[in-house]
């Protein structure tokens, strides 16, 4: 077929993967098979990455589940059963466990990949139908540090409080721990004009773009970004780039924040971070000059956030932005680059342990009263805050911890830190229920697997990385035997004694209810209607009923009661684990262009799988040689928690002390076998990015431990 010819039938929607939410056309081809091609849209500007181009193939993967699976005990095989049998079983077990151990014995684990409607319904289901406080989601592993940092500084967290298109006209963009050239390639279209300052331990594709276009690459030792950010603030002040008027008029707390930065003069930071003092000063000058012209952005990504001090590190980057006068002004700002497709909306509507819809806090009596009113229940019936994601996973099956878990759209056996520990917790549950479209590594451990619809088989809304609410449209009906998550929640809720009308299955009905529940909250969606979505209006939240959306936040004031942004006094501290004689290297993890998250989707797309079929470890040639390894050899990487077998790729630009592994793979190839579960005290983000490891040749017979 010539793709230039108009397709017989085409649906305009958005990509199933990351938070860029590229627009695409899904064209129906011969035999009803769909294929994707890019559509014009501000974030992707007519582009798509490899994952997007091949996304329609995920709809027809050969191992698609079309019937519920059930087993009475974990040692037996799954049997295909009908929906009533499966749902009755789940409901009966939930009721029995609840009768024995109370409502908090049933837990829920959600996802930043779920639509707003599902995220909202899942939170409501947990609080009302299960009566449990034990709900959290995988976004805790993703956006929580940035969200907490943004909240502290601005009183509100919207990843990018400005449209992405604003960034393209800036003179300078600093990217801290972000590698969009690999993780969201179409975003690079917005970064071709600005000079880039890339902060990354690795010479990533993005770092290379920075160098090729007259920018800078600062490569700190993993775990020292906070010291580097403090040092940049130090250099910015010493070199006269602080916007004193802005600091005086629009912020508070500069002096206290400065005291910590004062200890990080560039030569001192150089020894800790490995970044030459001259580069720190050059970056300060490049950024400072652009800030003076009100034309600079600071953006953070997971590389700087996924640490046990991730929130403080984000605060340090925000402090730098505030000192330069960037946030809350047209043409400049601070933002985080949200990762998961609905990582933004997913953190706003109640699937977090401490949260109710509209970015409300569950411990706020006024928030409880409002949401309970929308739900038609008494506020006292709502549970309080529960455990955060890793703490929840780590409590499963322990005395006092939940005995059951319902899992939606997540694969924590691959994506959570210290995989072996998470696997053993899940195995200790009395009941594990997974709603998924394939038998993911985590679903394979379950008692009941519920086959659910995916992305193009149902409609809903997503909120992209700039806080814009988008319509995701249904292009094909789900395969026979498959239900939507909303249908599953409704059917279970009814079995648990809830009125059916409280759990509607029509996404737009849920959207309307979400709008009411979020009304008056920070993330107010009350003005998001199917009509406005259909008109392609740029609905950046808050979108109040009958009012204009909010493309740029904070232009007049920040969201704290006094209207000022807050500097947060943060100090550097070492990572949870430092290398030693037994584990002399640092392992850091990240993403590949062709894979997404746990790989449950992308490893099933032949083109993507074929390009990167197995995990690799990227190593400096000297470090590899010292370990007796050459290019293409199988290496064993061992941390204090576990080990991973990976093929060696030599990278002469790598730091000598650091190896890199992509985390999209499972089992013996899982990078998260190595990672450290130390948690950030504020965001509860695990320390994904720094583990002390040893590198050695893998035992000769592949697969043997």
């Amino acid at each position: 077929m010539n793709p230039a010819e108009p397709a017989p039938q085409s649906t305009r929607t958005h990509c199933p993967y990351c938070a860029l939410q590229c627009a695409m056309h899904l064209d129906t081809g011969p035999q009803g098979r769909l294929s994707a091609r890019p559509a014009d849209f501000p974030t992707n500007r007519g582009g798509l990455c490899r994952k997007g181009w091949t996304s329609a193939e995920v709809l027809t993967v050969p191992d698609r589940l079309t019937s519920p699976l059930l087993r009475k005990d974990r040692t037996s095989e799954f049997t295909e059963v009908d929906w009533d049998t499966a749902l009755d079983h789940v409901a009966d077990r939930i009721l029995a466990l609840r009768a024995e151990s109370g409502p908090d014995t049933v837990s829920v684990f959600g996802s930043g990949g779920l639509t707003n409607e599902k995220s909202y319904a899942l939170g409501k289901f947990a609080r009302l139908a299960l009566g449990t406080s034990q709900i959290d989601y995988n976004g805790r592993f993703c956006m929580s540090s940035a969200a907490a940092g943004g909240m502290r500084a601005f009183g509100l967290d919207r990843g990018m409080p400005f449209p992405l298109t604003d960034v393209g006209s800036a003179e300078v963009v600093l990217l801290a721990g972000a590698n969009p050239a690999e993780t969201m390639p179409p975003m690079m279209g917005h970064l071709s004009a600005p000079a880039l300052i890339v902060i990354d331990p690795r010479r990533t594709a993005t770092a290379q773009v920075a160098l090729d276009n007259g920018g800078l690459h600062l490569a700190p030792r993993p775990g020292t970004d906070l010291a580097l950010a403090l040092s940049l603030l130090h250099a910015v002040r010493a070199r006269g780039w602080v916007d004193e008027d802005y600091v005086a008029e629009r912020t508070s707390g500069f002096d206290q924040a400065w005291e910590h930065a004062a200890a990080w003069w560039p030569e001192h930071a150089e020894l800790t971070t490995g970044v030459p003092a001259t580069q720190i000063r050059a970056a300060a000058d490049l950024l400072g000059r652009a800030a003076r012209a009100r034309s600079a952005y600071v953006l953070t990504g997971r590389g700087t956030e996924q640490h046990a001090k991730g929130t403080d590190t984000v605060s340090a980057w925000i402090n730098l932005s505030l000192a330069l006068g960037l946030p809350g002004r047209p043409g400049s700002g601070y933002g985080c680059i949200t990762g998961q497709g609905n990582g933004q909306g997913g953190r706003e509507h109640g699937q977090k342990a401490d949260q109710l819809p509209g970015y409300r806090r569950i411990d706020d009596p006024e928030a409880r009263r409002h949401v309970a009113g929308v739900w038609g229940v008494h506020p006292d019936t709502l549970p309080g805050p529960g455990r955060s994601a890793f703490e929840l996973l780590d409590a499963l099956g322990t005395p006092g911890g939940p005995r059951a878990m319902l899992l939606f759209g997540s694969n924590p056996v691959v994506s959570a830190p210290d995989s072996e520990r998470v696997r053993s917790r899940l195995c200790d549950l009395d009941l594990l229920v997974a709603a998924d479209f394939v038998l993911s590594e985590t679903a394979a451990l379950a008692d009941v697997v519920l086959p659910v619809a995916q992305w193009a088989e149902e409609s809903g809304t997503m909120t992209n990385l700039e806080g814009r609410v988008l319509r995701r449209r249904r292009a094909v009906p789900p395969p026979e035997g498959v239900r939507t998550d909303l249908e599953v929640l409704s059917a279970l809720a009814v079995r648990l004694g809830q009125p059916a009308e409280r759990f509607p299955t029509d996404p737009d009905t849920v959207l309307a209810e979400l709008g009411a529940a979020s009304a008056g909250g920070a993330a107010d969606y009350s003005g998001v209607t199917p009509e406005r979505l259909a008109s392609e209006e740029a609905l950046h939240w808050p979108v109040r009923v009958g009012q204009e959306p909010t493309p740029r936040l904070f232009l007049d004031s920040f969201a704290h009661p006094d209207g000022r942004a807050r500097f947060v006094a943060v100090a550097h501290r070492p990572p949870a684990e430092e290398p030693d004689g037994d584990h002399p290297l640092i392992a850091t993890t990240g993403r590949l262009m062709g894979h997404y998250q746990s790989g449950a989707q992308t490893r099933r797309v032949p083109e993507l799988h074929g390009a990167e079929p197995e995990v690799y470890v990227q190593v400096h040639p000297d470090t590899a040689a010292r370990a007796g390894l050459g290019a293409g050899d199988l290496a064993r990487i061992t941390s204090r928690r576990g080990r991973t077998t990976a093929r060696v790729r030599l990278d002469p630009t790598a730091r000598l002390d650091t190896v890199f592994l992509p985390f999209h793979y499972a089992g013996a190839q899982s990078a998260n076998n190595l990672t450290h579960p130390a948690l950030d005290p504020t965001s509860r983000m695990p320390e994904f990015k720094v583990s002390a490891v040893r590198l050695e040749p893998a035992p000769t017979a592949p697969g043997t431990p």
Partner: protein, 484 residues
């Protein structure tokens, strides 16, 4: 009243509110935020809050105002700081520190963080008869020195720096940046004699001369003539409105000496940072540990951290086992790092050295390696290598095989990777040049149609130029074909 009480916090007195004493208090505040374990009283003779002495040369250079170099002041119930009070006596039997305001403090544990003061060489005019600095003379140890110097070193004024060590050279750089005309006099054969070798010093001196600073090494001063300048032993007089004395320091050990505690050139401490009296500890510039490190702030901060962990009981087993002192000159436009063994006489037969000397380019590098570990380096004008080597030295990690590449701060030469894939035009969509040529042969003549067929350019967009160039090339190739 109940006879059983919760234990009251132990009393720690810290003498000295400099960088190390203040850091000790900060570490205690972090380890014991509620003041349940210990109660710390810091006494500081200066009336200022603790400040970052390392940045005084930056104040001279105009990079900071004095209030910008303050250090964080702990705000926890367990830490109390008394400013403007000096300790005058120590009675270890009574566990008592006498203060100059007539009061005293008793302690369970005492921490001496009294630092060091400038040593004034016995040169006529440098010291007044009352022992204070002579007219126009100042050290550069505290904010008061800094203010005095800035009053003397007006733009265009001649200033002499006596002592070409790290502090002297940093001060010289700051002063010349402020518009002073600066001479540096060093009595050793070369500047930074303790840290760098002679060839490095020669190139470093040229860096300074480029800035207009004249460097006089291997020269002894004979007399300071106020209002005129510094007379050298060869009779020359270097003009100077001010003389900055940066000729070494002497530990403030009087309190310890008076109490009968063992003192050599500093207060002698062991790996527990205890002195000969086990309840008295010493950290920072006043302390003398077998592992060295006095005179640099990083070892002092490590000592503060170790001692705070010990004395709060958070890590009673913590030990300080010595420093790997590293010198990093803070001088705008001059990137100098030095550490470890670099003098020829110290490098034994087992040591390999790599030396790059480029006086014209004002660069010099010397790397000393023993058993695949960096044991010393001087790096002038090699900022990336300096950062890399500092970390290799600090962590004791092995050095890479390609030492020249390491010095140049370059990636090692890439090896042939047997698995390497063919080069791609569009990396995002894995489109090769052959794919694009095939699409062209199939009739795609524009970038848009190439994109539709191959997906090239639709990812990050970084290959648009390359695809256009390929198209132009193929177009040119076709028109060049003979018509027929």
């Amino acid at each position: 009243m109940s006879t059983v009480q919760s234990a009251s916090p132990r009393r720690i007195v810290v003498v000295g509110n400099g960088m190390v004493g203040a850091r000790f208090a900060e570490e205690v505040a972090r380890l014991d935020p509620d003041g349940e374990r210990v109660h710390v009283t810091v006494v500081g003779a200066e009336h200022h809050r603790a400040y970052n002495r390392v940045l005084l040369s930056g104040v001279v250079a105009g990079e900071y105002t004095p209030d910008q170099i303050s250090l964080p002041m702990p705000d926890t119930p367990g830490v109390n700081v008394r400013l403007g009070v000096a300790a005058t006596g120590l009675d270890t039997a009574e566990r008592r520190v006498d203060l100059d305001d007539g009061t005293h403090l008793t302690y369970d544990e005492l921490v001496l963080a009294t630092g060091a003061r400038a040593a004034f060489p016995p040169i006529t005019g440098v010291t007044a008869p009352d022992g204070r600095p002579g007219e126009g003379v100042t050290a550069l140890r505290d904010l008061a020195d800094c203010e005095r110097l800035l009053a003397l070193a007006r733009p265009g004024a001649p200033v002499v720096v006596l002592g070409g060590g790290v502090l002297g050279l940093e001060a010289a750089r700051g002063l010349v940046g402020r518009g002073a005309r600066v001479c540096v006099v060093e009595s050793s054969p070369w500047i930074m004699r303790r840290q760098i070798d002679q060839d490095a010093a020669r190139t470093l001196a040229r860096c300074y001369e480029d800035l207009g600073v004249s460097v006089h090494s291997w020269r002894v001063a004979s007399r300071w003539i106020p209002g005129t300048g510094l007379e050298l032993d060869d009779g020359r007089v270097l003009p100077g409105d001010a003389l900055v004395v940066t000729a070494g320091v002497r530990g403030n050990t009087e309190l310890a000496t008076g109490a009968g505690i063992e003192v050599e050139h500093g207060v002698v401490v062991d790996d527990c940072l205890a002195t000969s009296d086990s309840r008295v500890h010493a950290i920072g510039d006043c302390a003398q540990h077998p592992g060295g490190g006095a005179g640099l702030v990083q070892p002092g901060w490590e000592q503060a951290s170790v001692l705070a962990r010990r004395l709060t009981g958070q890590a009673p087993q913590a030990r300080y086992t010595g420093a790997r002192p590293l010198t990093r000159l803070k001088a705008e436009g001059i990137e100098l790092t030095a550490f470890g063994l670099v003098q020829e006489e110290d490098l034994g037969p087992e040591t390999e050295t790599v030396t790059v000397s480029d006086p014209h380019g004002r660069r010099y590098a010397k790397l000393a390696v023993r058993r695949e570990r960096v044991v010393g380096a001087v790096l002038l004008g090699f900022p990336q290598a300096a950062a890399n080597l500092s970390q290799l030295y600090d962590t004791g990690a092995p050095v890479p095989a390609d030492r020249l590449a390491l010095l140049q701060g370059l990636p090692v030469a890439p090896q042939e990777d047997p698995q390497a894939a063919p080069a791609l035009v569009c990396r995002c969509n894995a489109v090769s040049r052959e794919d694009i040529e095939q699409a062209w042969l199939d009739g795609a003549r524009t970038r848009e149609t190439i994109a539709e067929r191959t997906r090239a350019t639709t990812g990050c967009g970084g290959c648009v130029r390359d695809v256009n160039a390929l198209l132009a090339g193929m177009e040119g190739g076709r028109s060049a074909e003979p018509v027929g």
